[in-house]
């Protein structure tokens, strides 16, 4: 019952909003907030009750949902972040916008995410997974009159769907391998071969959704949506869903013996390289987007290295931090009109140009969020990341080193952003800031508190409770020296980059990592991945399509026409050569017959004596014949 409500409430509310269209614009935000509050309550209930449901769907393949430890964690995180984002949106998405469409889509989106995290089998997982992708398409392309945004939405959908094909493959492999009901927890026990195909397929889908290498570029485009969409998409849903799925199938990946390591390396490299990409951005939202790939990379790394507990902690901590940062960045974009880092100089100082409501709050919460993002002790991501790295070290020291380097890069881009927002403000004469509304500010302190306090999981007793809550075997946390190393690295990098960037801004007024001559380097351009995809995949496919279409029109269709023409020619030929002769022959025959008839008419003269003479001749002939024959 709880589980059904958890799924159906947002799905139905969203459906109703979308169907009502503009009429429901006024009611949309209050309805969405009410549903979000209810969802949070239901999530708590689900965490306590741990419900499971299963209904028949396809032959031998039921649709099953269940809340276990990992799912409870995700359900709680998703509901909490959703509430924060919806409250923010109620002010951020203006009254002149199509609010019914926006909130309807958001509700559908969260319903799809909730089904994704509670799915027990491949069918429901794939279903909700793809619906989530489609709804994200609609949300990214929310401002559809702008063709560029729609293009971004299409790119995001197509890229993630490319990876989703792995999940279709996984479903078939699960059936072939005999996984009962295509259940996810039955995959590990299948015979190798199909087991490896199934898990690799799922992992591929997860890597695409969570924008890991080489799929990362779609996330850059996902920024085209409204800020609350980014806040939700990057923190607790969609991108995070990929990491979550990998955590869920960790036992299976471990069983294959090779997939875990492959996935771990992809995660570690993404964490490192996309961290560098984040550092090279001049746009705050792009910086945050790249940092999402990088931070989710740690979840992927955790799943690959069998450190599910750490991955779960990173899932929660990153959700809180990233939603906070996107909300603040979104508020700045909506109310200051910019996301360019150079224009955002000193924005956290708030009151320098006369105190205008809320900017101080936004600035302080942003600072807390960025410090957490940089992995500074004792904040949430520091402990989470160390829990991940502790598991990684046991697997492979090389991976641990890459992970640690990635953590240092995280500290670098975080420090860069921090230095910018606390720099000496750009004088902006005559430009009055608008006050931030309460609904925009309300979620920020709550999320900031979460970003800080989730660090408590680093405390051993709480960490132990955490593992029991997840229902996972105790694999032990990080050793004290590991915590010290990562903390010191983060601290040192932060201080160093902060000072560097502050000096740069005071002097040349430029950003670190961004080429001074303008343009973007390879990192600024997201490693050129999109270009590669265009050159290697899109263009050849389109060229193939065009040449096939030409073949279809000019060769295949023409050959049918040609066959018809051939038949027509054959007919003409038959007519000329055969039919004419035949009819000529028939005509000849008739003329011969006619001549015969004419000559047969000649004896009929009507004169009796001639008839007598004829009769006499005939009789004579007959008499002669009679005599001869005898």
């Amino acid at each position: 019952m709880v589980l059904w409500l958890l799924i159906l409430l947002p799905a139905l509310a969203g459906g109703i909003l979308l169907l009502s269209g503009r009429r429901a614009n006024a009611a949309a935000a209050p309805l969405a907030v009410a549903v979000a509050v209810a969802l949070l309550g239901l999530a708590v209930a689900a965490t306590v009750l741990r419900p499971a449901v299963e209904v028949p769907a396809l032959e031998g393949i039921p649709a099953g949902l269940a809340v276990d430890g990992l799912a409870a964690l995700a359900v709680m995180t998703v509901s909490a972040i959703f509430l924060a984002v919806v409250v923010f949106s109620s002010a951020d998405i203006g009254r002149q916008e199509a609010r019914a469409r926006f909130f309807g889509l958001m509700l559908l989106f969260v319903a799809a995410m909730l089904i994704t995290v509670t799915s027990t089998g491949t069918l429901t997982l794939l279903g909700s997974w793809e619906v989530m992708g489609a709804v994200s398409y609609a949300l990214i392309g929310y401002w559809w009159p702008d063709a560029g945004r729609v293009k971004s939405a299409t790119l995001a959908f197509i890229t993630t769907r490319t990876a989703d094909l792995g999940m279709y493959l996984a479903a078939g492999a699960a059936l072939a391998g005999g996984a009962a009901g295509l259940r996810l927890d039955a995959l590990a026990g299948m015979p190798s071969g199909w087991r490896d195909v199934a898990l690799a397929g799922l992992a591929l889908a997860a890597l695409g959704k969570s924008a890991q290498l080489p799929f990362s570029f779609w996330l850059s485009h996902a920024m085209a949506g409204p800020s609350p969409v980014s806040a939700l998409l990057h923190s607790a849903t969609m991108v995070a869903a990929g990491g979550y799925l990998l955590l869920r199938i960790e036992p299976g990946m471990a069983a294959t013996g090779w997939l875990g390591a492959a996935v771990a390396w992809i995660g570690a490299l993404t964490a490192l390289l996309l961290g560098a990409v984040a550092f090279a951005q001049r746009d705050l939202k792009q910086l945050l987007a790249a940092s999402t790939c990088s931070q989710i990379g740690f979840i992927v790394l955790a799943a690959g290295a069998g450190s599910v507990v750490g991955g779960g902690a990173q899932f929660v901590a990153h959700a809180a931090v990233k939603s906070l940062l996107f909300l603040v960045a979104g508020a700045w974009l909506s109310y200051l009109g910019t996301k360019d880092l150079l224009e955002l100089r000193g924005v956290a100082r708030g009151g320098t140009h006369g105190s205008v409501g809320g900017y101080r709050t936004a600035g302080i919460t942003f600072t807390l969020g960025v410090l957490a993002l940089g992995g500074l002790p004792p904040l949430s991501i520091w402990t989470a990341k160390d829990a991940v790295l502790a598991g990684v070290l046991r697997q492979s020291p090389a991976l641990y080193v890459v992970g640690l380097a990635a953590a240092a890069v995280s500290a670098a881009y975080a420090a860069k952003a921090l230095a910018v927002v606390w720099a000496k403000p750009q004088p902006a004469p005559g430009k009055r800031r608008r006050a931030l509304p309460t609904a925009v500010l309300l979620p920020m302190p709550v999320l900031a508190a979460a970003a800080v306090l989730l660090g408590l999981f680093g405390v051993p007793s709480i960490g132990k409770w955490w593992q029991e809550f997840l229902g996972l075997p105790n694999i032990g946390g990080p050793a004290p020296w590991e915590l010290a190393v990562s903390g010191l690295v983060a601290l040192a990098v932060t201080v160093w980059i902060y000072c560097q960037q502050t000096r740069r801004l005071a002097g040349e007024g430029t950003l670190l990592g961004v080429p001074a001559a303008g343009g973007t380097g390879l990192s600024g351009d997201w490693l050129g991945l999109e270009h590669a995809a265009t050159v290697l995949i899109s263009r050849p496919t389109m060229a193939l399509a065009v040449s096939l279409a030409r073949f279809d029109d000019r060769m295949l269709a023409r050959s049918v026409d040609a066959a018809a023409v051939l038949v027509l020619k054959a007919a003409t030929l038959t007519d000329l050569r055969l039919e004419r002769r035949l009819s000529g022959a028939v005509g000849g025959l008739t003329s011969v017959v006619r001549k015969l008839a004419r000559s047969a008419r000649r004896p009929q003269t009507g004169l009796i004596y001639q008839y007598y003479a004829q009769a006499l001749i005939v009789m004579t002939v007959l008499a002669v014949l009679f005599v001869v024959m005898r």
Binding site: W144, P145, L165, G172, A176, T541
Partner: protein, 548 residues
């Protein structure tokens, strides 16, 4: 000779109510009567047509409910145990018709045909609603559609090859006139091409039927009897040839690559309701023929040559999708996606032939998915073609580059198109996913490489359909310019602002039911699968029992 008559009369089953015959022949009777409606009362024609189609659909729904509850089983002659959930043939009508030929008037429904019967009744009803304002020769138009409805329903319930063949060919005749008389562009040429191509295809079909007849002992065209006899089980060469002839005939109608070239021009020049029936019903006659005739009567050859069907299906999937991607004309694009969608069906049926012996569960899934795909394609492509008609009425061109930003002036039009598009690209929550998921999942083990390659089809269709959405519905507003218009039609000012350009009630009422049903099947598929699965089982048991 007389004794054969008595044989037939012995097995003749006269049910208390010949409900199936009534459903089949009601439309044509009303259609004939419609021709007598006086010119002054021509407005009545549309309403009588709608009422007839609605009554017919109501009867089919009642039949479905009754059949699902275990009714209508006459048992016995089908050679299958009667009772609910066995996939047995129900509502059988059988009496001697041409006894010297071994051909009878034999009709019945099962889980393979009933979904298509229901789809046919529904699609003809929405065509009636869509055409309520038909101005050009409304009586002949309605009568021809009602005739075509009888023909289509008759084909799906036929249990006799001659009966099947007659309906098969009559459908071509009816559609020829619809395209030629009510079409646009080079309609007469397209109609003729359609007629000749599919008619020649049907001759191959007839050849195959005659081979089956001659091989059977006693000679018969009765499908149930032929299934029981499995006449060519000891003659693999002749069996293969019979399968080849029948498959070519059905492949032309389906159509699969390379027999598809008649489809795009026929669709492009057909009127919207004609396209709906062509795509939604007539193409299904081809795919239905595979599950009704080719697979059960020639199970051994089917298993032997299953890989061939898998490959034909795969080629259709990829070729159809890629060629669709290169189209600039909306209707041609949808027509090529039909080739792609039909490809999944052939792929699934082929894979079922491969898997029947080793993994019946997978084979059942593939067959169930294939039948679901027939229904799903009818709903979604039907909706897309009606929307294409609405587009043409306003902009007088199908060129996609002529339009832009339609979502602003026509939000309902855009919304319904988006739903149909996402359904067509196989988004979960819509019927296409239920179909394609089962086909892929059921086929992978038996044909791993072709199935994996066929997955690319759903990616390509997603790309091309979303590109179309972006071009026509989003971005800045674009309107057809004078030189883009196909005919000298009045300039289309209806699309720009306000609601007049949006869907009118008759358009909304004809498109929305199809999409609602697609969503119902996508979310709650059990009501449909409960019907199809037992019949798919029965089919797979037949196929599995034969030696390949």
């Amino acid at each position: 000779m007389y004794s054969e008559v008595t044989v037939f009369s012995e097995v003749t089953v006269f049910p208390e109510l010949p409900v199936l015959s009534f459903i089949v022949f009601l439309p044509v009777v009303v259609g004939a009567a419609l021709l007598l409606v006086p010119e002054a009362r021509r407005r009545l024609v549309g309403w009588i047509w709608i009422a007839t189609a609605a009554v017919d659909l109501g009867l089919v729904v009642a039949l479905w409910i009754d059949y699902a509850a275990g009714g209508g089983r006459s048992g016995g002659s089908a050679g299958v145990q009667a009772g609910a959930g066995t996939g047995a043939i129900g509502y059988e009508t059988k009496f001697a018709w041409m006894p010297t030929l071994g051909s009878g008037y034999h009709m019945g429904v099962d889980g393979l045909s009933l979904p298509l019967v229901a789809l046919t009744a529904l699609l003809f009803l929405v065509c009636a609603i869509y055409s309520v304002r038909q101005e050009h020769r409304p009586r002949a138009h309605a009568a021809l559609f009602l005739f075509l409805q009888t023909v289509s329903l008759g084909l799906f319930v036929s249990l006799d090859l001659i009966l099947f063949f007659i309906f098969f060919d009559l459908s071509i005749v009816g559609m020829y006139f619809i395209i030629a008389v009510w079409g646009h562009g080079s309609a007469v040429r397209s109609a003729l091409q359609f007629f000749l191509y599919t008619f020649i295809g049907s001759l191959a079909l007839l050849l195959g039927f005659i081979v089956l007849y001659l091989a059977s002992d006693p000679h018969t065209f009765d499908i149930v009897e032929l299934i029981r006899q499995d006449p060519l089980k000891n003659d693999p060469v002749l069996g293969g040839l019979a399968l080849l002839a029948i498959s070519i005939g059905l492949a032309v109608k389906t159509p699969t690559v390379p027999f598809h070239t008649w489809l795009p021009p026929a669709h492009t020049d057909a009127p919207a309701p004609g396209s709906v029936i062509l795509a939604g019903v007539l193409l299904k006659m081809g795919t239905f023929g595979f599950v009704r005739i080719a697979m059960p009567i020639l199970p051994g050859p089917w298993r032997s040559y299953a890989m061939g069907f898998v490959i034909v299906g795969l080629v259709s999937v990829l070729y159809g999708a890629l060629v669709a991607m290169a189209q600039t004309n909306f209707k041609r694009m949808v027509a090529y996606t039909s080739v792609n969608h039909m490809g999944y069906i052939i792929l699934g049926l082929g894979a079922a032939g491969l898997a029947a012996g080793s993994n019946p569960h997978a084979a059942n899934l593939a067959v169930t998915g294939a039948v679901t795909q027939m229904l799903s394609h009818g709903l979604l492509t039907g909706a897309l073609f009606l929307l294409a008609g609405a587009l043409f009425e306003r902009g007088h061109t199908y060129e996609m580059s002529a339009y832009g930003g339609l979502a602003g002036g026509a939000p309902r039009f855009a919304g319904l198109t988006a739903v149909a598009v996402f359904g067509s690209l196989g988004l979960p929550g819509l019927s296409g996913f239920i179909a394609e998921f089962q086909i892929f999942t059921g086929s992978l083990e038996a044909a791993p490489v072709p199935t994996a390659l066929a997955l690319l089809g759903i990616l390509i269709t997603a790309a091309l359909l979303l590109r179309m959405l972006a071009q026509m519905f989003f971005g800045p507003v674009r309107q057809p310019t004078a030189e883009q218009l196909e005919s000298g039609a009045p300039s289309a000012g209806l699309l720009s602002a306000g609601t007049p350009g949006d869907l009118r009630p008759r358009e909304l009422l004809s498109v929305a039911p199809l999409l609602v049903l697609a969503i119902v099947v996508g979310v709650l598929p059990r009501f449909l699968l409960d019907l199809i699965e037992p019949a798919a089982h029965a089919l797979i048991v037949l196929v599995a029992a034969a030696a390949p």
